[in-house]
C-alpha cells in the first residue's frame, strides 16, 4: 500500500496543447480521491499519467516513496479500471481476473484461490466460466473490478468506471465500489465527470477545469465553501443560483434586480471582506435548498432575508419540489454549471432571464404564476467577485 503524490505535474502534448498545468495533488494511503471536472478538463490525462500510459512533461510523480516518472506501467504496482472495462473477450471471467497473476508466474493453484476469493467478494462465483460477451453490463463492470482487486495493488486507478451503467445500477455500484475501496483500504484515484459520484464516493474531491486544479477538499467543504464561481456552479444539482447584484452603502444592502435585500451585520462578521465591495457589483449565490418558502422553513431564522420570485414551473420529485421561479435579476451562467450538450439551452426562447431554482418542502402550497416569497438565512449566501470569479470570504 502506498500514497500518490503529484507535484507540479504538467502535460504538454507534441502539438503544444497544455492539458495539465502544474497539478499538485496528494492521495494519502487508503484515501478515496475523486478527480472531477467537465470533459476536456484534463482529469483523465492526469489519471493516465499516474498509470504510466502518458508521459509526464514536467513535475514529479511519486507512488509511495518512489519517483515513478520514468517507471513503466507494469512496475508501478497499480491496477486500473477502464471506462469501457477493457475485458479480454476471448478469455473467461476467471482467466480475465487471473491474467495479471498468470503474467507474474504465480502458481496455478494460488491463482485459482485468489480469483475465487475476488469473485466471492464481487458475487461473480457462478459466472467464472462465462465469457464477457455473455454477461450484463453490471457484471462486466464487476469483472473489471475483480481484475483490479485480485492483484492487491498499492494504488487503484479508476476512469469513469460507472458511466456505462444505467442510472439505477450506477447508484448501486457507486456504493459497491466505495465499500470495496474501504475494505481493501488502498489509495484510490477515481475520475468522473459526475459531481454526484464525486460527492458521494470521495473522501476528498479535486475539481479540475481546463488543466488547472480549482479546489481540493472534503465534499461537504467543496459544497459549502466553493472557492470560485466554477466550483460553485459545478458542484450541486440543480446548480447554485447565481445573480448579478450591487452592494449598497457599507454593504448593508444588496440590490438583486429590483429587490433590495437587507444584509444583517451578522453576515459581515462571517464575511468581513464584503465591506470592501460596498457600492460595487458582486455575484450573489444561493443554493436551491437554501431557499425555503416563507412559513415552511424548518427552524426559525434570525435576521432572515426575504427574496421573491414568480413561480414558473413546479417539478414534484416526491420527497421535494423543485420550483423554477423568475425574477427581474440577471442570472449569471457559471461555466461549471453548464453541460457541454446543453450549450445555448438557457438562452432559448422558453427560458427567462432571471430564472432560479428552489428545492422546497413537498407539501408547500405553490401555484404557477403566483408570487412566492423565500425566507433566506443570510449565512447561506455566497458572494463572488464578478471580475475574478473568486469567492469573497474572509
Amino acid at each position: 500500500m502506498a500514497s500518490i503524490s503529484i507535484e507540479k505535474v504538467t502535460k504538454i502534448y507534441p502539438n503544444g496543447f497544455e492539458a495539465i498545468h502544474e497539478l499538485d495533488l496528494d492521495v494519502a494511503d487508503g484515501e478515496f480521491m475523486v478527480l472531477v471536472g467537465p470533459s476536456g478538463c484534463g482529469k483523465t490525462t492526469a489519471l493516465r499519467m499516474v498509470a504510466g500510459l502518458e508521459d509526464i512533461t514536467g513535475g514529479t510523480l511519486r507512488i509511495g516513496d518512489r519517483i515513478v516518472n520514468d517507471v513503466s506501467s507494469k512496475d508501478r504496482d497499480i491496477a486500473m479500471v477502464f471506462q469501457n472495462y477493457a475485458l479480454y473477450p476471448h478469455m473467461t471471467v476467471a482467466e480475465n481476473i487471473g491474467f495479471a497473476l498468470k503474467l507474474r508466474k504465480i502458481p496455478k493453484a494460488e491463482i485459482k484461490k485468489k480469483v475465487e476469493d475476488a469473485a466471492a467478494i464481487l458475487g461473480l462465483t457462478e459466472w467464472l466460466d462465462r465469457k464477457p460477451g455473455q454477461l450484463s453490463g453490471g457484471q462486466r463492470q464487476r469483472v473489471a473490478m475483480g481484475r483490479a482487486i485480485v492483484r492487491e495493488p498499492s494504488v487503484f486507478l479508476m476512469d469513469e468506471p460507472l458511466s456505462n451503467l444505467d442510472a439505477k445500477l450506477r447508484v448501486q455500484m457507486r456504493a459497491e465500489v466505495a465499500r470495496i475501496q474501504r475494505r481493501l483500504n488502498v489509495a484510490t484515484l477515481y475520475v468522473t465527470h459526475d459531481q454526484v459520484e464525486a460527492m458521494t464516493m470521495g473522501d476528498r474531491v479535486a475539481v479540475m477545469r481546463a488543466g488547472l486544479l480549482q479546489q481540493c477538499d472534503k465534499p461537504q467543504v467543496l459544497y459549502d465553501h466553493p472557492v470560485n464561481l466554477f466550483v460553485a456552479g459545478f458542484m450541486g444539482s440543480p446548480a447554485m443560483n447565481l445573480f448579478d447584484a450591487t452592494l449598497g452603502e457599507g454593504a448593508a444592502t444588496a440590490l438583486v434586480g429590483s429587490q433590495k435585500l437587507e444584509l444583517p451585520s451578522s453576515l459581515h462578521a462571517i464575511r468581513p471582506a464584503l465591506k470592501s465591495y460596498a457600492n460595487r457589483p458582486v455575484i450573489i449565490g444561493i443554493r436551491p435548498e437554501d431557499l425555503p418558502v416563507a412559513g415552511d422553513e424548518p427552524a426559525a431564522i434570525d435576521e432572515a432575508v426575504y427574496f421573491e420570485g414568480d413561480v414558473e414551473l413546479v417539478e414534484a420529485l416526491g420527497s421535494e419540489l423543485l420550483v423554477h421561479f423568475t425574477t427581474d435579476a440577471h442570472r449569471v451562467e457559471a461555466e461549471g454549471a453548464k453541460d457541454a450538450d446543453s450549450e445555448g439551452l438557457s438562452a432559448g426562447a422558453l427560458t427567462k432571464g432571471g430564472e432560479g431554482v428552489a428545492r422546497v418542502e413537498p407539501r408547500s402550497q405553490l401555484v404557477v404564476g403566483r408570487r412566492v416569497r423565500f425566507r433566506i438565512d443570510p449565512a447561506r449566501f455566497h458572494f463572488f467577485d464578478p471580475a475574478s470569479g473568486l469567492s469573497i470570504t474572509s
Partner: protein, 278 residues
C-alpha cells in the same frame, strides 16, 4: 400490407426466390458441369446431345490425371501455397499491427505504397523477376515461387489486418500493459485472438491467390509444376484429354472449398462483443 405473410405456393414461388434461384443456377451450373463431366468417359464428355448426368459413371478422367503426374502438382501447389500463406500472415500480422497501432512516422506513405504494389500487374515485373530468379538460381525451386507470392500478396493482407487491429479498443492493450504484459505478449495473447477473423480472411485470400496463380508458376517453375500449370500441360499436340482436365479441376477446388468452410466457422461475428461497452 406489403409485409403480409405469404401463404401456399406464394411462399416459395415469388420474385425474390426466383431471382435468387436464377443467380444460384448461374453460379452453380458450371460447377455442376465440371463435376458431372469429370465422371464421364472421354467419349461422353463432348457428346451431342449433351449428357446431363454421367452414365455410366467413369473414373477414367481421374486415372488419366494422376497418370500424368497430377499428384506431384498437388504437392507442389500445397507446398508453395501453404508456405506463402504462412509467411504472408506472419509478416502481415506484425506489419499490420505496427501500421495500425504503433506511433511511427510515414504510416500514410507506407500504406499508399502497399496499395499501389497490391494492384501492380504481374506481367509488368515478370521479365525482370525472371532474370533475378535465374541469376540467383531459384528457377524450378519452391522458393522461386514462395517469395514472389509472398511479396505480391503481403500488401493486401497488411491492409486487411491493419483495419482489424484498428478496430480493437486501445484500452484493452493498455490494460494488458498495466497487467504486466510486454508488447509481444500483448499482441499474441490479447490482440491476436481478437483478430482471428482478419487473419483467416487474409489467409484464405492469399492461399486462393497462390493456389490459382498461373503466370509466375509457368515462367519460373516449368520443372516443378503447380496445379494450374500442370493441368494446362495435360495432353499433347493432338489430344485434348477433357476428362483429365475436369477431374483435375475438381480436385483442385477441394482445398479451397475446405478453406472456405473453415473460414466461415472462424468468422463468428461478435467475437469481440462484450469486451467493451456495446
Amino acid at each position: 400490407m406489403r409485409n403480409r405473410a405469404r401463404h401456399g405456393w406464394r411462399r416459395w414461388i415469388n420474385g425474390p426466390y426466383i431471382g435468387a434461384a436464377l443467380i444460384a443456377l448461374f453460379i452453380l451450373l458450371p460447377m455442376y458441369w465440371m463435376l458431372a463431366s469429370s465422371f464421364k468417359s472421354q467419349s461422353n464428355v463432348g457428346a451431342y446431345p449433351p449428357q446431363y448426368f454421367p452414365v455410366p459413371i467413369s473414373t477414367s478422367g481421374y486415372h488419366a490425371a494422376f497418370a500424368d503426374g497430377f499428384g506431384g502438382f498437388v504437392v507442389n501447389s500445397l507446398v508453395v501455397a501453404c508456405c506463402s500463406t504462412a509467411l504472408v500472415l506472419f509478416l502481415g500480422v506484425f506489419a499490420g499491427y505496427a501500421l495500425g497501432r504503433l506511433p511511427m512516422r510515414g504510416k500514410y506513405p507506407i500504406m499508399v505504397s502497399l496499395l499501389m504494389i497490391s494492384v501492380f500487374p504481374e506481367i509488368a515485373v515478370i521479365a525482370p523477376l525472371y532474370l533475378v530468379m535465374r541469376d540467383i538460381g531459384w528457377l524450378n525451386s519452391y522458393q522461386g515461387l514462395i517469395f514472389p507470392y509472398t511479396a505480391f500478396n503481403l500488401p493486401f493482407a497488411v491492409w486487411i489486418l491493419r483495419n482489424y487491429f484498428l478496430g480493437i479498443s486501445m484500452s484493452m492493450e493498455e490494460s494488458a500493459r498495466i497487467d504486466g504484459a510486454g508488447p509481444l505478449r500483448t499482441l499474441v495473447t490479447v490482440v491476436l485472438p481478437q483478430v482471428t477473423p482478419g487473419v483467416f480472411t487474409a489467409g484464405v485470400f492469399t492461399f486462393t491467390a497462390c493456389w490459382t496463380e498461373f503466370l509466375m508458376a509457368l515462367s519460373f517453375d516449368f520443372g516443378k509444376k503447380t496445379i494450374p500449370v500442370g493441368i494446362a500441360s495435360f495432353g499433347s499436340q493432338f489430344t485434348v484429354p477433357y476428362g483429365a482436365y475436369f477431374a483435375a479441376s475438381v480436385i483442385a477446388v477441394v482445398p479451397i472449398a475446405i478453406l472456405v468452410l473453415v473460414f466461415r466457422k472462424a468468422v463468428v461475428s461478435g467475437l469481440t462483443s462484450g469486451a467493451v461497452k456495446g
